[in-house]
């Protein structure tokens, strides 16, 4: 058994390119790069580009902290006469942002859990079991990779109307769960895992279900985390579908609610920016804590098409 245990880490398809970011780009060489004029120039260029990318975010924060009557001044000022959280208090007080945030969190969490669970089970079924029609069904799933949900908005909406799911959480969640690309990613992963571990468990008398939960799932934790992270970001940020299927402000997700309500802020520029900062913050905070996992998850899942 020891031989198969040793073999297991080597088969994780994400081992080579994905551990690299964690190890840092200097991995292997170990020497400190010198500060040649070329590298100093590169550093300057990179810093300038970084500043350019941060600029819009900085502007949003700066504006949100100004007194409302100073936000429309026609000269470039980053800081107003005083720093105030008035705008935040006002946009938070209505309760809308909090409600949409709860909606978004609930919808994203349920969608992610269901996606990971159903896709992992399906991928295991397709890669590790035999049943009549397996190949044909897997082919049908693979064909679905070519169908972007955006081209199905009209029939999906009609379906939601007849199921009575308009303006409900399930109406937002269900169409986002069956993602064929995720099944494909996981099938590729499972195919790379040697069967010996599972066979050893079978010999010990474990059933199919137990093997899946106690052998396969723990072994796939990195790839499942990648799928989960990617799904969560996608769902949290999805606009088109929740926008179509919710008309009741109480059922809206954060991005949809924001866009829906923006006209009521009118020219209250500080409030607009404060609401954007609040809406953008949750994922950025998550990113701050899980930078490495998120970077690896996005790169891994994004490159899966290869």
């Amino acid at each position: 058994v020891s031989a198969t245990v040793k073999a297991a880490p080597a088969v994780t398809p994400d081992a080579a390119p994905d551990t690299a970011p964690a190890a840092g780009p200097g991995a292997g060489s170990g020497r400190r790069p010198r500060w040649t004029p070329g590298r100093v120039g590169m550093l300057a260029a990179a810093l300038a580009l970084a500043a350019l990318w941060v600029l819009p975010l900085a502007w949003a924060v700066a504006t949100s902290l100004k007194p409302e009557n100073e936000t429309t001044r026609t000269s470039l000022e980053w800081i107003g006469s005083r720093i105030t959280f008035d705008a935040y208090e006002k946009v938070w007080a209505s309760g809308d942002l909090a409600r949409w945030m709860v909606n978004s969190a609930y919808i994203s969490a349920v969608t992610t859990a269901l996606t990971v669970l159903t896709c992992a089970m399906a991928a295991y079924g397709f890669s590790r079991t035999e049943f009549r029609g397996r190949r044909a069904l897997y082919g049908l799933v693979l064909a679905g990779i070519m169908v972007p949900p955006q081209v199905l908005i009209a029939p999906l909406f009609a379906e939601m109307v007849s199921l009575g799911l308009v303006d409900t959480y399930w109406g937002v969640i269900l169409p986002q769960v069956a993602v064929p690309a995720m099944v494909f990613i996981l099938v590729k992963f499972f195919e790379g895992v040697p069967r010996e571990l599972e066979e050893a468990a079978f010999v010990d008398g474990a059933g199919r279900w137990r093997v899946f939960w106690t052998v396969v799932i723990p072994l796939s934790r990195p790839v499942l985390a990648a799928v989960a992270i990617f799904t969560f970001i996608q769902t949290w940020n999805n606009f088109l579908w929740p926008f179509l299927v919710t008309t009741d402000p109480n059922a809206m997700t954060l991005p949809v609610g924001l866009v829906n309500v923006q006209s009521t802020y009118g020219a209250r520029y500080a409030q607009v920016m404060a609401s954007l900062v609040i809406a953008g913050l949750p994922l950025l905070l998550v990113f701050a804590f899980f930078q490495r996992q998120i970077v690896r998850g996005v790169a891994h899942t994004g490159l899966a098409g290869q």
Partner: protein, 319 residues
């Protein structure tokens, strides 16, 4: 069973596993519960992907309104109308035009940022933080942020910056048909380039270091190494990034809807917004389905090219 006996040197535990693996009981295990594992996914897949595809096809052959009542079979009328409809062609063109305009800067900028971060080898967190974080913002936040940054001509950040540089402000960023699409492209590059940046960064870090060391021994300069080692080693990644980018750009809707509503003069309205306009505000959901399927055909063509490419690169990798 007897076949495994001669391999005596193998540790007993392993031999037992092998022997057990061949037993009919274990072999039977592999065939168990396949449908149970796949059923939950297949059910959702059938309900929310396969069925809508078929329903959309049926709806595109009828004159359904949004409530799904009074539907009449009209054959291919909707498709014929769509192909004659100048608004279908113009919005299709806006989608393609946006895709062409955005793909090149998104891929090239992603590569440049990754090269910078990779070669600098310092403060990696700063590069990731500044270039990747916008990707984590919802389109609603990005669209509104850029709208309020570039639209107000007297107090928007864009014009204030131009003014402080001594340049002429008052560009109709979103109101002038010459600039509106470019503004959307700019917003999109800022928003999503971080994704391509990450893909390139991962690919750069996978290039074997010894290639560079050998080239350095041969006296190859930085430019030479970039052209003859880095870029060729990235060609597979580039192919993937380009196709993923094409597919993503073709689905443009959010930014346009939020920032210009398709204007000015419908000069930025993408095909997806036309589907929305026809089906959800015009209530002609049958016609909207037909237009969707015209768009679908375009996506399928790009996807098939992608499929051929990945198959070829996989075959090359297998060699």
């Amino acid at each position: 069973m007897t076949a495994t006996a001669p391999t005596a040197p193998a540790p007993p535990a392993r031999a037992a596993v092998r022997a057990g693996a061949r037993s009919p009981a274990v072999r039977r295990r592999w065939t168990e519960h396949g449908l149970v594992f796949t059923a939950p996914f297949l059910l959702l897949y059938a309900l929310f992907l396969v069925w809508p595809v078929l329903l959309g096809l049926k709806m595109s052959l009828g004159d359904d309104n949004i409530a799904g009542t009074d539907s009449r079979f009209v054959g291919l009328d909707n498709y014929a109308e769509a192909l004659r409809d100048p608004e279908v062609w113009s919005s299709l063109w806006h989608t393609v035009w946006f895709t062409l305009l955005s793909t090149v800067p998104l891929v090239v900028t992603g590569l440049v940022l990754a090269l910078l971060a990779h070669h600098l080898r310092v403060v990696q967190w700063l590069w990731r933080l500044s270039w990747f974080t916008p990707f984590l913002l919802p389109s609603g936040v990005v669209g509104l942020l850029w709208l309020w940054m570039i639209y107000p001509s007297d107090f928007g950040l864009a014009d204030l910056l131009l003014k402080s540089l001594g340049l002429d402000p008052g560009i109709g960023w979103l109101t002038d048909t010459r600039y509106a699409m470019l503004s959307i492209v700019l917003t999109t590059v800022w928003w999503t380039v971080g994704f391509n940046f990450l893909l390139y960064l991962a690919a750069l870090q996978a290039i074997p270091q010894h290639l560079y060391e050998a080239a350095e021994l041969d006296g190859a300069g930085a430019w030479h190494r970039l052209r003859h080692i880095t870029l060729p080693m990235l060609s597979r990644t580039t192919a993937v990034v380009v196709v993923l980018q094409l597919l993503a750009s073709l689905k443009i809707f959010d930014q346009v809807y939020i920032m210009t509503g398709g204007g000015p003069d419908e000069s930025t309205r993408p095909i997806l917004q036309y589907v929305y306009d026809a089906g959800f505000t015009g209530y002609r959901i049958g016609y909207a389905s037909a237009v969707s399927y015209v768009f679908f055909a375009l996506i399928v063509i790009v996807s098939l090219i992608h499929l051929r490419m990945t198959r070829r690169s996989r075959e090359e990798a297998a060699k």
